[in-house]
Amino acid sequence: MKKSIAGGSGSATGLEVALPRSGAIQPVLTRFLENEGLLAALLLAPTISLLGVFIAYPFVMGVWLSLSSTSVGNPGVFVGVKNFVKAWNDSIFQTAFQNTFYYTFWATILKLALGMWLALLLNRHFRGKRIVRASMLLPFIVPTVLSTFAWRWMFDPTFSVLNWLLYQTGFITTKLPFLSDGTYGMWCAITVNTWRGMPFFAITLLAGLQTISPDLHEAASLDGANGWQRFWRVTWPLLKPVTLVVVVFSIIQTFSDFQLIYVLTGGGPANSTHLVATYAYQIGVATGLLGEGAAISLFMLPVLFIVVWAQLRYLRRLEGA
C-alpha cells in the first residue's frame, strides 16, 4: 500500500509520494486539486457562472434597456435618459415612488415594534411554548400570494368579515371602503405586510434574546431597574446588532415588494396604491414597454444601494472590532 503525504493546510504543494490505485490521470488531477487556489476556482465556477449569466448579465442588460426605446417585438434604439425623465414626470410614477417609501417606512416600523414585543413574549416560559413558537411563523412560510388572497377576501367590499365584526361590535355604522379607497388600500397593504413579516422579526429577535444571559437581568433588577429600564438598558443594546441586520433585510424586501400589492389591490383604485415594482410590471410587462419598465425598476437601485452599502460598512466594523 502506497501513501501520499500531504503538507499541512495552506501549503500549496503537498509532498506527494504516490497515490493508492493511481491511474494515469489521477495524479495530475489530484495534484491540481491540492492547490488551494485552483480548487477554489473549480468549486466556485458553477456559482459564478450561474450568477454571472442570470444576475450580472441581466443587470447590464437592464441598464441598456432603460436607455433604449425597446418594446416587445421592437429592438429599439438608444434614447439616453428619456425613459427616466418620462417616468419622473409621470404622476402615477410619482405616486408609486412616494407610496413605496411610505409603505416601507410604516411596515418596517410596525414589524419591528410588534416583532420585538412578540419575541419578548415568546422568550418567557409557558405551556405549549414550542407549538406557539412554531405556529407563529406560519404567515412567513405560506406563499404570500395565497395568504394575501385570504386577506383580500377579508377586505371584500360586500362580504368583508372585518366590516361585519366592526359593525356588530358597534364601531362603525357603514362599511369601511377597505380596498376601494387609496389611503385605506395602502394601509390594508401595510397591515398584510406587517402580518406576514412580523414573525420573521420575532423569530430572529427571539434567537438573539436567547443568547442574552438571564444573569444580566437579575443583576439589573437587584439594582432596582424596572421592566422598561431593563429592556432599554440591557436587552436593547445587546440586541441592536441583530436588529439592524433584520431591519436591513426587511427594508430591502419591503421596498422591492411586488406580489402583495399585485394581489391585494393590483395598484388600484385609479393607480393610487402602486409601488415602484408593480408599476414597472404594469409598464414593462403588461404594456410591453420594456425600456420604460426597466427604467422604472432601476429607480429602486439608489435606495437599495445605500441600504446595502450601510449594511456592508456595519459588518466590516463588526469584524474589525
Binding site: 493546510s9 444576475i55 407563529m136 406560519l138 388572497f149 362580504f159 414597472a280 446595502v308
Partner: protein
Amino acid sequence: MIEQRWKKWVYFYIPLTLFIIGTLFPFYWMFITAVRPDVELYRSWRAVNNTPFWTLNPTLEHFRDLMAKTTFPRWLWNTFFIACASTAISLFCGLLSGYALGRLRFPMAGTLGTAIFVTYLVPPTLLFIPLANIIRTFQLGDTPWALILTYPTFLIPFCTWLLMGYFKTIPKELEECARIDGATRFGAMVRIIFPIAIPGILSAGIFAFTLSWNEFIYALVFLSSPERKTVPVGVVSELIRGDIYFWGQLMAGALLGSIPVALVYSFFVEYYVTGLTGSVKG
C-alpha cells in the same frame, strides 16, 4: 400575590392571545371559506341567520371542483418539481462555493464573498424585465427551466452564505487529520467535512425549498400556458374568470397550495429556524 397574577394576565396572556388570534385568523378564514357552501358565502352581511365564523353545512364541493375542473393538480406537481430541482442546483453550488469561501485561502476570497453577499440582497423585482428578455433569447420561455435556472440566483447566495458560516465553525484539525491519513484535499472535503455539515445542508435546503415554492414574480412573467404554471401564479391568473372571484375555490386552492410547505416546515421547524436566523447573521 393577586397583583402578580393580574399583572401576568395584562402583560402576558392577553397580548399573547391577541398575537395568536391575529396571526392565525386568516388561516382559519381560508379554511372556513373553503368548506362553506356558495349559498352561505354570498349572503348579505346583515342577514339575520348569518354565522360568519362557522358553518353548519360544511362541504367539500370547492375542493372537488378544484381538483376535477381546473389544472390545479398539475400546478402542484409543477411547483414541487421546480422547487426540488432549483433547490438541488442551489445546494450543489452553495455547498461547493461555501466550502471554498469558508475554508480555502486564495486571492480575492474577500471580494468574492462580498460580491455573493451583495447578489443575495438584489431583489428579483429589480431584474425581472431584462431577465425576461434573456429567457426569451435562450428560448426558455414557458418551460420549467426558465424558473429552475433563475431561482438559484436568489437561492445560491443564501445557501453559500449559510454554509460558509457553518463550515467556518468546523475545526481545521479534522481535515488535517484526514489528510495526514492520506486523504486528498478533495477527498477530505467530500468525506469528512460535508457529512459533518449535514444539519447546515438540511437547513439551507428547507429554506431554499420554501423560498422557491413561494416565488411569484419570475413565475408570473416567464410562464404563460395554464398547464405549466406554478400554484401561486395559477391561483392568481386562472381561478379568477373575468371579474368573478370564486372565493370558495380560491380559498381551497390557497389552502392546498400552502399545505405542502407547511408540512415540510412542521417536520423541520428547528432546521428552518436555524436557516432563517443563519440567513441574517452574516
